[in-house]
């Protein structure tokens, strides 16, 4: 009994900690992906904005979807949502609770990507260098419009021959990076304050409903796990019986055909049991052939 309880507690805590672990791993993976990704701004007027904003927003979508896919509980929630009512009523509060916990965990990695991108600054410099007002910067003030667009577009590329030693390029770059980092830190601060408030103020509202929802969502999760385990165990026993029946029917067939001695069951008990009456090369070959050509029916009654 104690062992069962320990196993259940393990499963219960394990499910949560497994999900938290996956969440953390995805966040680390997103940082690693960003550092290993070779960001190379095209430095062309129409392409910069698309590239910069694309790199800032497409990977978070991918990471969010990954977070949903890798979370086992999302499947459980979907099944619970779509199942026919049957004899068990559906509780929408439980489904809402599961949904919100899944989405919260899945949002961590995308937010980490966006914050790291902003704090690093390359994406925003690439995306918005072409939208700068050239009048603010000395080097670009008295240049024709078309050329200024070209020059501004090349600001993210330090080694380009056109802007290599241009001090205004550095000024634009610093300006954009400052904005980018300010935005990054602000977003981080706002999110942390929001998380703090949500966690701190939650017990003030609907604590009882929350406890119920959490209990039943854990229950659904564990119930599904145990159902799968029981099915596995059942299929093992089914297979065992099926094979025994098969050997038994082979033995009877052999007895019928070869009219061998009635007292075959005697003798060293252990070995005879394991041999199951099959004591001949031909008999073994026949058994193996029958197994392939005519598998026994799935009926062990």
């Amino acid at each position: 009994m104690d062992r069962f309880r320990m196993i259940f507690q393990y499963f219960q805590s394990n499910s949560e900690s497994v999900m938290n672990g996956i969440c953390g791993l995805l966040a680390l993976a997103s940082v690693k992906m960003y550092t290993s990704f070779d960001f190379s701004c095209p430095c062309l007027p129409q392409y910069n904005m698309a590239y910069g904003l694309g790199v800032m927003f497409v990977p978070p979508v991918i990471l969010f979807l990954c977070g949903l896919i890798l979370n086992r509980q999302s499947l459980v929630m979907l099944e619970e949502w779509r199942r026919p009512q049957g004899r068990r009523k559906k509780d929408l509060a439980v489904i809402r609770y599961m949904c919100s916990s899944i989405v919260q965990r899945a949002m961590v990695a995308p937010v980490v990507w966006i914050v790291v991108t902003l704090l690093d600054g390359k994406c925003l410099i690439c995306a918005f260098s072409g939208s700068m007002d050239p009048e603010k910067f000395v080097g670009f003030a008295n240049v024709s419009t078309v050329q200024v667009q070209q020059l501004l577009a090349k600001v993210p590329c330090k080694d380009d021959e056109l802007v290599r030693n241009n001090t205004s390029r550095k000024a634009v770059s610093r300006y954009l990076r400052c904005w980018s980092q300010a935005l990054g830190w602000s977003i981080l601060l706002i999110l942390i304050i929001a998380a703090f408030l949500a966690r701190w103020l939650r017990p003030c509202f609907n604590q009882a409903t929350l406890l119920q929802a959490r209990h039943w969502s854990n229950y659904i999760d564990i119930e599904q796990k145990i159902f799968e385990e029981t099915c596995c165990e059942h299929s093992r026993l089914f297979a065992h019986k099926c094979i025994l029946h098969f050997f038994e029917s082979m033995r009877q067939e052999i007895k019928l055909h070869s009219c061998s001695l009635p007292g075959e069951g005697e003798g060293p008990e252990g070995e005879e049991d394991l041999l199951r009456g099959i004591t001949d090369q031909d008999q073994v070959n026949k058994l193996l052939k029958m197994w392939y050509y005519e598998k026994p029916p799935l009926d062990v009654s």
């Binding site: 990704f37 070779d38 190379s40 701004c41 095209p42 430095c43 062309l44 392409y47 590239y51 694309g54 790199v55 497409v58 991918i62 979807l65 990954c66 949903l68 896919i69 999302s74 499947l75 979907l78 099944e79 779509r82 199942r83 590329c157 380009d160 021959e161 385990e229 099915c231 596995c232 165990e233 299929s235 093992r236 297979a239 065992h240 094979i243 050997f247 061998s260 001695l261 007292g263 075959e264 005697e266 003798g267 060293p268 070995e271 394991l274 041999l275 199951r276 099959i278 004591t279 001949d280 090369q281 073994v284 197994w291 392939y292 050509y293 005519e294 598998k295 026994p296 029916p297 799935l298």
Partner: protein, 338 residues
């Protein structure tokens, strides 16, 4: 019972996690292969496209096939597909389920290769450098060159050391352009794959959950049944071998006794286990003869049943009645010499 259940659950979960582990290892192996591979663009007009696209598409195909080969369940699927119907009907849903789950796992490493290749950019740069839009990116003022000349110059873009078209179009500009396109394709590809995976996973419970549970149960069943059958056969083979060898030694012992015409002198009191295990062979010459006989003339794969405990001579299959040796001592009194 508890212990069996726990061990079996471990095995069952282990099988799934084992296959997921292989899947992950192959994905890591594909990134490692890509970084270890020394990409060498030929920088010639028609070879670039072939080389670039070849590197992009051939290794994923190989990895896909490898994913199937390394999966143990492929033989199980093939067996279930090809077996004669016999007394057990075949369920195509189960076959489909098994094939789909194997194909999904096998697709991961190729997808990783293609994404890493596209995000790195070298392949697309190599393959499409001759298609760079020179009019928009290049310098307006350059001497008129024939189409073939332009192609030859552009083909050298990936090889910076031999590039000689700096007046036509700057190398960095072209490389940045191509790499931007390649990375955009890469991210779109990853987004597409992830969206597909998400849709497949989330739409399944909405439509065919009952059928899915059924297929999953029966595919596990087939796997377990096959393993149990193999175990049972192995057990059987072991017992078969044991009895066969035992009968061989008994036969040897009988022959020796018949040849030397002396009764086996086995001290009744202290015979014990040691004498039993000797199986009637107690000196070097006899042992050598037994070994030679085992090599030259293995016994047939036919175990004669043990003699009946009743006194009648049995009308057996023509086997000579075996002399009761030490292991059967306790029943020796019941055998009759016929």
């Amino acid at each position: 019972m508890d212990k069996f259940r726990m061990i079996f659950q471990f095995f069952q979960s282990n099988q799934e996690s084992f296959m997921n582990g292989i899947c992950g290892i192959m994905a890591l192996a594909s990134t490692q292969m890509y970084s270890a591979f020394d990409f060498n663009c030929p920088c010639l007009p028609h070879y670039n496209l072939a080389y670039g696209l070849g590197i992009l598409l051939v290794p994923p195909f190989i990895l896909f096939l490898l994913g199937f080969v390394l999966n143990n369940n492929i033989s199980m699927l093939a067996e279930e597909w090809r077996r004669p119907q016999g007394r057990r009907g075949k369920d195509p849903a189960v076959l489909r389920y098994m094939f789909c789950s194997m194909a999904q796992r096998a697709m991961i490493a190729p997808a990783v290769w293609v994404s890493v290749t596209l995000l790195d950019g070298k392949c697309i740069t190599c393959a499409f450098c001759t298609s760079v839009p020179v009019e928009t990116l290049g310098n307006a003022s350059h001497p008129r060159l024939s189409q073939g000349e332009i192609e030859r110059v552009l083909a050298r873009i990936p090889c910076k050391e031999i590039y000689n078209g700096q007046q036509l179009i700057a190398n960095e500009v072209a490389v940045r352009y191509l790499r931007c396109i390649s990375q955009a394709l890469g991210w779109c590809f990853v987004l597409l794959m992830t969206t597909l995976a998400f849709l497949v996973r989330s739409l399944r419970p909405c439509f065919s959950q009952a059928a899915f549970l059924k297929s999953r149960y029966w595919s596990h069943y087939i796997d377990i049944e096959r393993k149990l059958f193999d175990e049972t056969c192995a057990e059987h083979a072991r017992s078969f071998a044991k009895v066969c060898i035992q009968q061989f030694f008994e036969g040897m012992s009988t022959d020796l006794v018949a040849a030397h015409c002396h009764l086996p002198r086995k001290a009744p009191a202290d015979a014990g286990e040691a004498a039993e295990k000797l199986l009637g062979i107690t000196d070097r010459g006899t042992m050598n003869m037994a070994l030679k006989s085992w090599h030259r003339c293995k016994p047939p794969l036919h175990l004669h049943p043990p003699a009946l405990p009743t006194g009648n001579g049995w009308a057996g299959e023509g086997q000579p009645p075996t002399h009761p040796t030490a292991p059967r001592r306790e029943t020796a009194a019941y055998y009759s010499w016929v």
